[in-house]
Symmetry: C2
Subunit: 243 residues, 2 copies
Amino acid sequence: MLSHIRIVLVQTYHPGNIGASARAMKTMGLTDLVLVNPRDFPHPEASRLAAGAEDLVDAARVVGSLEEAVSDCVQVIGASARLRSMPLPHFDEPAEMAESLVDHAADDPVALVFGRERFGLTNDEIRCCSHQVSIPANPDYGVLNLSQAVQVLAYETFRAWRQRPDSGFQAARPAQDRQPTREQVGHFHDHLSRLMQASGFITQPHARTEEQLQALFARAQPSRKELSLLRGLLSSLEPDAEG
Amino acid sequence: MLSHIRIVLVQTYHPGNIGASARAMKTMGLTDLVLVNPRDFPHPEASRLAAGAEDLVDAARVVGSLEEAVSDCVQVIGASARLRSMPLPHFDEPAEMAESLVDHAADDPVALVFGRERFGLTNDEIRCCSHQVSIPANPDYGVLNLSQAVQVLAYETFRAWRQRPDSGFQAARPAQDRQPTREQVGHFHDHLSRLMQASGFITQPHARTEEQLQALFARAQPSRKELSLLRGLLSSLEPDAEG
């Protein structure tokens, strides 16, 4: 359950990053935000950058230690740009991390922990974690802005969740127009052939050329309406019977 | 090739979003930024939020129309939060979009196009596109900040690229410590058994309990050094022979 997934930001320096992180969370269905010793909070910048996610910022819990923030969690994943010497189980791929996180979140709280903008997490804080994850990035410039790291990992988490058969997530998609029957498609093919011969493009039935064009139109998957449109076009292109 | 992948921002309102987008691009190995009629550019906010990606901002091409920005591209993917009435081929999943984009980028320029913060892309601009993509999000609050949409799609693009066998990308990972041999693991198991009996935890060899503990330690995949550490611990826990 997405509501079991907590985002923890440790000693965030820029209040704007708190707001932008809240926005990132909300777009991906997450709501539980906890701040450990934020440097400057509350702050108008946090509200401003939260845009429509101010409710998450207003409801954010502020605590004095990471231990306090995650004591009830059954999985705590530290997000870190830098590999640490402490060999916690490590996810190289955020997508794999997300599968695991969503699994563990079925019945209990779990947490994704982000460190300071410049310094990440301390070794003591990593000891509060059960796992680590890093976002594969450009070896020459690989440190994402804090709120963008939150966005990427929240995106992967939402994806792991919505791809589960029990999530009930429905991608918004426009109603599909009705497809033509094979008979209607056949009429279109005949019309196209007649036009190609009438125009002199081919002088007799030419299977290969006709098949190629039929296949091209098939790839476009025209709806019934579109097929009508095409046939109207073909009709208008027919040379006059009178010449 | 990642260098063939162009990011196009159309009429960006906030210069800070240009800088943050440049940073997002650079962390994911992208470098080609084109701005169509940015409202206020150049601007100190663009440079400030670019952080270490100022070079991308400074090198960004500024043009007067989207047509101009993408005329040489063989694939142009419009990123849009809102589904349009025009039925372009549409990627529901950014990961699928990224596979296609990286495929097409082998020999020719391709583009990912982002619209205005509030209004997205106009219908005329969508006509410059060959495909559309949207980022699946919270149905109640699904519009990502512009630079965060850039971050997510750039992340997917980089992932599609690095997972190709020919990319040569090496995930930074710490050197793996040497693993123990089966014989060494056997010694450890024997030591553990002897300790459990000597301490009275079990009164005779108890296969099930021993197997469970052996399996637990196996899941931890101790290195040789860690196994030594464990054996040192076991030795220190042995009750004195003298009682």
